[in-house]
Structures are given as C-alpha cells and as structure tokens.
C-alpha cells in the first residue's frame, strides 16, 4: 500500500514542498514589482533655500501674496505698519492654502476657519501648530525669502 511505503509520503511531501515554494516564489516575483510600481517615486527637489518673490510695489501695506517655494506655497505679508513677514502657506491643519485677511489683520484658512496671527501662531480654529516662518531680505527693490 502506498500509505505504508515510507518513501512514498516523503517523496510526495518533498514534491509538495517544491511545488508550494515555487508557487509562492513565482507569485512574489510577480506581485513585488507591481506593488513597487504603485509607490510613487520620491522626487528629489533641488532644495531651494531662497526665492525671489517680487518687487516692493508688488506687496502694498496690509496685503499678502502667495509665492512658490519649491513645490510648496509660501505667503508673504506686508503689515499695516509696513513690516514684511513670510511663512509657509500650507495650513498645519489639513494642508489647505492660507490667505491674509486685510480686515482682520490675521492669516486665515478658509477650509475650516483656521486663524493665525502675524507671527504665524495658530490662534483659532483647528490648526494644531504655527506656520513655519521664513526670513525676508530686501535688497534695493528686490524681496527674497529664505528658509531659516
């Protein structure tokens, strides 16, 4: 009888094992590249540490302007007193882009009514953290913003 033959089951087990591992190996060889393909490649950004955001006249007092800082938005604000301030414009709540409110003299986010003061501090609504502040340099008529 097959069952009593000690070589039979062992050989069969060995073949089952071979078959099983090759099925698993084949499947992983197929699935691994598919999974990897779905993960978007990390785009290496030339790390911009400084951008030119315009001329003095582009940003009148009590106004704000969105600028491009690499792939992220930044906001530059001239306060009523004439000071220039720059922050990351990505709301720390859920990533919407903030704006300067000339009426309230605050930075607001329209998505869920987040509010930041003019030092970037989160003072109202859901945002959990302050906005990252950047350094503003004015050289003659040119305004540049630098990551600190």
């Amino acid at each position: 009888m097959e069952e009593s033959d000690p070589r039979g089951p062992t050989r069969r087990r060995f073949l089952d094992y071979l078959l099983g591992t090759s099925v698993v190996a084949t499947l992983s060889a197929i699935l691994y590249p598919i999974f990897k393909f779905m993960v978007p490649p990390q785009v290496i950004e030339a790390s911009t540490n400084s951008v030119s955001v315009g001329k003095n006249a582009d940003i009148p007092a009590n106004s704000g302007k969105i600028f491009k800082f690499g792939s992220k938005p930044g906001i530059i604000i001239r306060t009523q007193a004439g000071d220039l301030k720059a922050f990351s414009a990505s709301c720390t709540h859920l990533d919407c882009i903030v704006q300067y409110s000339p009426e309230k003299k605050e930075i607001v986010c329209a998505c869920h009514n987040g509010v930041y003061d003019l030092t970037g501090k989160n003072i109202g609504g859901p945002p959990p953290r302050p906005l990252e502040e950047y350094k503003v340099n004015v050289k003659g008529d040119d305004i540049t913003v630098t990551r600190t």
């Binding site: 779905m38 993960v39 978007p40 785009v43 969105i66 600028f67 491009k68 792939s71 992220k72 938005p73 906001i75 414009a89 709301c91 859920l94 990533d95 919407c96 882009i97 903030v98 704006q99 986010c109 329209a110 998505c111 869920h112 009514n113 859901p126 959990p128």
Partner: protein, 357 residues
C-alpha cells in the same frame, strides 16, 4: 416553424436561454406593508447604468491632465452638443445614486434582511457602498477646479493622519507628496478603470445572490402571516420601470434647472476659497471631525475620529455576524437603536455641516 423560433431554438441549444426564462418566470416578490423598499436596490442599479453610459460619453472628450482637464470639461459644456446635459446628468445621477444606495441599505438593515443565508449579500452591498464613495471622491477631482483641488487635498490629508499606514496611503493616493497632475492621473485611473471593474464583479455577485435567495421577508411579518406575492416578470419589473422613467425625468429636470457648476480652474499656488466643502455624503464625517477637540487623552482628536469611522465601517460590514438572531427580543431592539442612532447622526451632522459656515 417560424424563422424566429428556429433562431431561438438554435440559441437555446447553445446558451440555455430557456432556463433563464424559467427562472425569471418563477421569481416572485412578497407583498406586505414594507414592499416599497424593494424598489431601491433596482433604482441604484439603474442609476449605475446611467453612470456607465454617461461616463463613457464623457470619456470621448475628457482629458485627464492638470493642463487639459479643466479646459476639456469646459469644452464639453460649452462646445459639445448636449455636453452640458451629459455632464450634469452624470453628476446629478452620481448624487441620486448615493441617495438611493443609502435608502436601500438602511431599509435592508431595519428589515434584518442580512440574516442567514444572506450574509454575503450584505457584505457585497457594504463593499459597494465603499466603492461608490470611492467613485464620488475620485470623480469629484476630475474637472480640476479649485473646490475639488482643496477637497482632495483635505481628504487625502485626512487619510494621511492614520498612524503608520496613513502616510504611505496618502502618497499612493496622491501619486507623490502633493496633490498634482499625478493625483489627477491616478484618480482618473481609479474612476474609469479600477472601480468600474471591481463594481461590476460586486454588483454581479450581489444581484446573483438576490436571485438565488429570493427577497427576504421581515421577521415580524414572516412569523405572523404568509405574505401574498407578485410576479417579478412582468408585474414588479414594470413597476421598477415606472420608477426608472421617473428618475430619468428627475435627472433631466435637475440637469436643466441646476446645471452642474464648473467653477474656477485649480491653482496649486492660490489661497483656498471660502466654502470648501466635500460632497454632501462626506459632510457628516467632516463635520464630526470639526467637533473633536484637538487632543483626547494625549491622542490627536482627528486620529481618534478617523479610527472611529474606520471601526464603524468594519462594524457595518460585520452586522450579519453580530446580530444572528434578529427579530427576537433585546438584540433586535439594540440593533434598531444603533441603526436609528446612525441615521439620526448622519442627518443631523449633514444639516449642521450645511448650515454652519
């Protein structure tokens, strides 16, 4: 023998059409005071076919890229003959579909139609709910307007809040770290290929199971009476048909009176406009997240909220296994209360979401 009869015989020998006819003839629908709810599954199915038909038409002109998407939809609604109609019907029908789906789902819930042997019918239905929500979320971005851009930013950011798996999911959905043209390409792929394929398999299974098991009769009625029945073909089907024709009328009216807006083109470097809101069926979750405090015991309120909704979804899928003896005593009461709580919660939060801001 007439030509048509011999053609029928020829086909029957090869396809076994007779057996399908026999099955259709045998199918009956129970008649009782809750029979009206039996129409909503068919309504959802009908609206899905409307989506497929109008969606394929939109594909003739739509271009899935950050540079071309907005312009192509603009072209559809201004230049293409009846383009405004097709686009509005697709958008309105998507919303009516979700509404019909909700009605269908809650009616089978309250009638305990998920009890044995229909557990898998319920599970395929629950999965179809998630798929439909995926259709809505991915479709919303396709016109690449400001509202959609920020709604997608917020929606994917919420997914990213989940611990450990959140960030990989966010990058998978966005096709990178930010919402860009890469996100649009992905969402387009989900919307017109991945989701339709999955939906087709699920709908097929769902409907097949309904055929296999017949319509369920609520336990209370089953115990007290032997309900009368109505033939599915043609009696019930004709009533279905009246509903569908009404739906076509409603869709045409909505499309003509309230054409779907296009808004302004998305700009990744412009402030979010006021009034960013997701579609109404996301609003109750959105509103709930707003009410959670920033911190609940050292944990982010948002994280807790999302995990809560995740668990809620899991509960919903598993209902047939949690309530195995519906129709009897306390269990029945508990599940009715849970169901009513969910419905009231969704309605109240949706209304609050609309009224606030």
């Amino acid at each position: 023998m007439k030509k048509i009869d011999s053609l029928f015989l020829w086909l029957d020998e090869r396809l076994g059409i007779q057996s399908i006819f026999k099955m259709a003839k045998k199918k009956e629908v129970p008649l009782h005071r809750h029979s009206i709810w039996y129409y909503f599954g068919g309504m959802t199915l009908f609206l899905f076919t409307v989506q497929v038909a109008t969606g394929i038409l939109l594909l003739l002109y739509y271009r899935p890229s950050a540079e071309g998407a907005f312009e192509s939809v603009q072209f559809i609604i201004t230049e293409v003959q009846f383009g405004w109609l097709i686009r509005s019907v697709h958008s309105w029908s998507a919303n009516l579909l979700i509404a019909a789906l909700f009605i269908h789902m809650f009616s089978v819930y309250f009638m305990s139609a998920y009890r044995a042997p229909r557990e898998i019918t319920w599970i395929t239905g629950a999965l179809l709910l998630f798929i439909s929500i995926g259709f809505g979320f991915s479709g919303y971005l396709l016109p690449w307007n400001k509202l959609a851009f920020f709604a997608t930013k917020v929606g994917t950011e919420i997914a990213g809040v989940v611990p450990i798996i959140g960030h990989p999911i966010l990058r998978f959905l966005r096709g990178g770290d930010e919402v860009t043209g890469a996100t649009l390409t992905r969402f387009f792929g989900f919307h017109v290929a991945v989701l339709p394929a999955i939906a087709t398999v699920l709908i097929g299974t769902h409907v097949l199971l309904v055929q296999m098991h017949g319509m369920s009769v609520p336990p209370k009625i089953e115990e007290t009476e032997e309900p009368k029945t109505m033939k599915f073909v043609p009696n019930f089907l004709l009533r279905d048909l009246i509903g569908w024709i009404l739906a076509v009328g409603v869709l045409a009216a909505l499309a003509a009176i309230f054409p779907w807006e296009l808004g302004e083109k998305a700009d990744a470097f412009a402030s979010a406009p006021a009034g960013i809101k997701p579609e109404w069926y996301f609003l109750f979750m959105f509103q709930t997240l707003k009410y959670l405090p920033a911190k609940i015991f050292a944990l982010d309120g948002e994280v807790l909220g999302i995990l809560g909704f995740g668990l809620g979804g899991l509960f919903w899928v598993l209902v047939p296994f949690l309530n195995k003896t519906p129709g009897h005593g306390r269990r029945k009461l508990v599940f009715n209360v849970i169901g009513i709580f969910i419905v009231v919660f969704i309605i109240v939060m949706t209304i609050v979401g609309y009224v606030s801001s």
